[in-house]
Amino acid sequence: MRTAFIQALNELADNDDRVCLIVGDLGYSVIEDFANRHPDQFVNAGVSEQNMIGLAAGMALSGKIVFTYSIGNFGTLRCLEQIRNDVCYHRANVKVVAVGGGLAYGNLGVTHHASEDVAIMRALPNMTVVAPGDPVEARLATRAVVAHDGPCYLRLGKAGEPVVHTKEPEFELGRAVTVRDGSDVALIASGGMLATSDKVARSLAGQGLGVRLLSMHTVKPIDREAIARAATETRYVFTLEEHSVDGGLGGAVAEIMAELEPGHAPLKRIGLRPEFNKTVGDQNYLKALHGLDEETVLKTIQQIITRSYGRVG
């Protein structure tokens, strides 16, 4: 996703000198090409995230479209008040980019686990929150946030995420992409869990179940209509995210569903337990501990459906 993002950003910056990139002394082997091609559109703020966001706001209020780039929590939580006041309150055209969303930096430690960022960014007024599901969506999301005038949070994975979309989907901020359609269960995924969800959806479909898979790349503003349809046209809704089950995609979907008319499908949020990890592990290892590996997700969904509706399929 990182590569797709930076390539798209490079192309955008080629054609629009308002597009700037500020990094917080991170991005080794990612940002060099941008820095060389666009020296007047690039700043390394050093290891100073509060200043990085303030600079970005000042540049944006002077007419620039400014991307900030850092690892998960550093570029979001460390400088949260700068994002709230300087960026969101002033509607400054700043795009906060975090790499390593979720457990991508698994064995580097809990400091590097971005597990609450979506919830926190989602709570900010004027903020658009985007967590693309694969490199194709990352490229499209990069273009979309440049076209959108206002604060955005772009949550990326790291490197090597599988491509889910074999052809470019129609991509609009705030509008879910229907990856496959069905009316038995709905899987709503964001970020890197899209690939896992896609595999799980195929397995469930292979067992005769009608599976709707939505890529909810924009967590805010969220696609209310798509959620309402999923909740009324299918029999069970599952959210899947590499983020705490509290306040992120699952929280957002729960908020919408809680206010629907009675008689809709129930919801199960699949994501990270809201606790700090205690065991060292890489991304896949830790995801499995949280039940986010393909096999466990499939089992979880099958058990819930069996319990609620009898046999699967």
Binding site: A45, G46, G54, L55, G58, L61, Q82, D86
Partner: protein, 277 residues
Amino acid sequence: MSGNGQASDDDLRALARRLRSHSLRMISQAKTSHIGSCLSVADILAVMYGRILRVDPKRPDWPDRDRLIMSKGHAAAITYAAVAEAGFMKEERLGEYARNGGQLYGHVTHVGVPGIEFSSGSLGHGLPVGAGMALTAKRAGKGWRVFVVMSDGECDEGSNWEAILFSGHHQLDNLTIVIDYNKIQSLDFVDKTLRLEPLADKLRAFGWSVREVDGHSVGELGRALTSLPLESGKPNAIVAHTVKGKGVSWMEGKVLWHYRPPTPEELVTALAEVEAS
């Protein structure tokens, strides 16, 4: 008149008196805090709006305007008074200060208030934003300048030192901070809370050019602020030595007046002192 290079020192002193009177009335009527912080920065704002800033009240968004960020956002009353006196809005709007249904919040707010460049209130936000503006102007070869008015207590914030390091490194000589060094912060004297001295040396060590002035002398402030950049290739720091509560003898140098609003009776004597000065 804003940015009027012709304003005499007497004009600026008269403007400072009006700013102090407005602040006293606004804060007394609204029963809010921070009169001491307003009174200490009055001469600084009078010089900025009366002589230095190249702004156009008819075009608040003029792209080539100088930017002034009031980072000590608690001195809101006097900031609104300054933009009103500069012609950005009608003076009667000052009655909206901290009043239900108005738009002039108790900390500096840009929404619905022409002439206010940036909202503040949480300290340590203005300078990084100003640095971003200054960097943008410099890279684009634009002549507009950025001024950030800061408090001394605000210098406790690490974000400011991040931006001070950055601005020195990037040689932002189109960026100027004016530190209203009134020696008193929220709970106590600066020296008893977190000592800033030697403040000028600290700033010089970060690559800034520093001028220390009497922050109540419009002549000294004016001379410093018309000599920018103080040194080519260095950001500018005007360390303005001021007195908290300046202009009302019984408010001067007292922590109490960081918080207490003057009563209606106190307002009368305070206004009389300011107008007689």
